[in-house]
């Protein structure tokens, strides 16, 4: 009985985990590649959802609305980068400022606090109308999208520009003496990261059939939990770093996170306690190694 319950959570976790994988992938770029603790995510996720939802209610093509959402996310990330590099505002504060500003922006975009999309045809409607269990096309779709962007990220991080971006997170002084404008690298990286996050927000809105101004709350902690879980599952911590390992960890971790949460809910975790549970999960993951080895429980902000 219990087993069949667990089994039933698998397709849901897969679909949701893969849909949110782009958030984790975005956080990998900021936290891991650039070593920049970017909190814009809480605002850029609903930004993507708000843009796509509003445009669709205006009868804009769903795919076009997604592309606009990606651009909006990119610009939001660039703004955070601008605050940090040009106006010299602390990185955490830059993210918090943008996150707060985006809350108002998102309300402006939507014109109200949430938009229902149940009656409009979304980008995913053709998939939902296929004559099979809806999980099959959905999971396949999100699988292709998340792995597609993972692959693109891997490729990019091995280009000349990508190497310069990784070095910006690893040893900023060194890559600057080699002639790279590290400020621009930071801005570009934050832009790409938040473009991924906004895309995820747009797809989740289309999948769930609504956009809500509050849907990004705690997204950064969820994303962090995902990459921490993913990294321990694929063994990033064991010394082998490598870009491809980190990006696969983001996807694996995102799915694993949703699965853990689904199981938790089945076992009686109150949905209202979800964010607390996620926060505790991150605290334990960061804190236990620190207690064990008395080393600093650092978030491994680092370049790769």
């Amino acid at each position: 009985m219990l087993w069949s319950g667990f089994l039933r959570t698998i397709p849901v976790s897969l679909e949701q985990g893969l849909a949110y994988a782009l958030v984790a992938l975005g956080i990998v770029i900021t936290f891991r590649v650039l070593a920049f603790p970017d909190l814009t995510v809480d605002g850029s996720f609903p930004l993507g959802a708000a843009v796509t939802a509003r445009l669709m209610t205006l009868n804009v093509d769903p795919l076009l609305s997604i592309i606009v959402a990606i651009i909006a996310g990119f610009l939001a990330g660039c703004c955070t980068g601008f605050l940090n590099t040009r106006l010299k505002i602390n990185s955490l504060l830059s993210g918090i400022l943008m996150m707060t500003i985006l809350y108002s922006v998102n309300l402006r975009i939507m014109g109200r606090s949430n938009i229902q999309l149940l009656t409009v045809n979304t980008f995913l409607t053709p998939l939902e109308n296929l004559d099979v269990n809806r999980f099959i096309p959905m999971i396949s779709f999100f699988l292709v999208v998340s792995f597609g962007f993972k692959f693109l990220t891997d490729l990019f991080l091995h280009t000349q520009k990508g190497l310069a971006m990784r070095a910006t997170g690893d040893n900023e002084q060194m890559i600057r003496t080699l002639g790279v404008n590290t400020d621009n690298m930071t801005i570009l990286g934050l832009g790409i990261s938040n473009a991924f996050v906004a895309l995820s927000g747009a797809l989740v809105a289309q999948d769930q059939g609504f956009a809500d101004v509050g849907m990004g709350i705690g997204m950064i902690v969820i994303g962090l939990a995902s990459i921490i879980i993913g990294e321990s599952l694929v063994g990033v911590r064991s010394g082998k770093k490598g870009v491809m390992r980190l990006t696969i960890a983001a996807i694996v971790g995102s799915v694993a996170y949703k699965f853990i949460i689904a199981v938790g809910l089945r076992m009686g975790l109150a949905p209202t306690d979800l964010k607390m549970a996620t926060g505790v999960m991150v605290i334990l993951a960061l804190g236990i190694p620190a207690l064990k080895s008395e080393k600093e429980g650092k978030l491994h902000l680092r370049g790769v």
């Binding site: 000349q160 190497l163 990784r166 040893n171 003496t177 002639g179 790279v180 770093k241 680092r302």
Partner: protein, 259 residues
């Protein structure tokens, strides 16, 4: 090649900690010169390098490299002119990245970085060849992360990286000071070899008077942000540690210098 004119730099101006780090320094370095720089702590040696490389701009004075005025050019825009190695072996390389990735980044010093492959397959053989020159076995470890290397290996790699794209000017900021004596010796020999083979204009700051006298064709001594002494050519070759200590011992409070 490098011309410094009346450089002045004050740190923490207007505070109780105000410090005149560079007090009207003028210096002319010719192409192909290997200049060693000595001076006690706070003499302005590192400040001079920072002003040349653009870490910060001077309050007064001008910096020319290769005839171009670069006084206010940002650090990353000066990369095309110069390679720099710091005392800390960790500072010259990106530790989580591989040996070949580090070399590939240095290969593009000062140039536009596009979306082509970071590590060019054609250049990989070249990297292998120049790593062989180090004789540290690194040629077989192209895909190893730099974090696996020792301090000496990292500093040798940094030296290769700094000279890979043939900068007009090489700045060495006590680059052997953090290494054990034997490794320091190896890195220093390698430095001399690379500098001589490529006729690089070099400025080497050092704490070690023996080193300053043994290497290079020009030696200068800084004191309180000013040029205290300089010796060139034959006069430089004839210098001995004893002589310098006798003349300037009072200004060279630094014990490290005297050994």
């Amino acid at each position: 090649m490098v011309r410094l004119e009346g450089l002045r730099k004050v740190f923490k101006r207007g505070t109780i900690d105000e410090k005149m780090a560079m007090d009207g320094l003028s210096l002319h370095i010719h192409a192909g010169d290997f200049v060693t720089v000595i001076g006690s702590n706070g003499a302005g040696k590192t400040t001079m390098l920072n002003l040349i490389s653009g870490t910060y701009a001077p309050d007064e004075g001008e910096v020319f490299i290769d005839g171009d005025k670069v006084t206010h050019l940002q650090e990353h825009r000066r990369a095309i002119y110069l390679g720099r190695i710091f005392q800390d072996p960790l500072m010259g390389t990106a530790s989580a990245m591989t040996i070949e990735e580090n070399l590939a980044m240095a290969d593009l010093r000062g140039r536009r970085r596009g979306l082509g492959w970071g590590v060019n397959k054609a250049r990989r053989n070249h990297y292998r060849d120049i790593l062989k020159m180090l004789d540290l076995g690194l040629e077989d470890r192209l895909k190893d992360s730099v974090s696996l290397l020792s301090g000496g290996q990292r500093q040798s790699l940094t030296l290769l990286m700094a000279t890979l794209s043939m900068p007009k000017l090489l700045l060495l900021d006590e680059h052997t000071a953090a290494l054990d004596p034997k490794t320091a010796d190896l890195v220093m020999q390698l430095t001399e070899k690379i500098v001589a083979e490529n006729k690089l204009t070099t400025i080497m700051v050092t704490h070690n008077m023996n080193q300053a006298i043994k290497y290079g064709n020009v030696m200068i001594m800084l004191h309180e942000g000013k040029l205290k002494f300089d010796a060139q050519g034959d006069a430089k070759q004839a210098l001995t540690v004893e002589e310098v200590v006798k003349r300037f011992g009072a200004d060279l409070k630094d014990e490290a210098l005297l050994c």
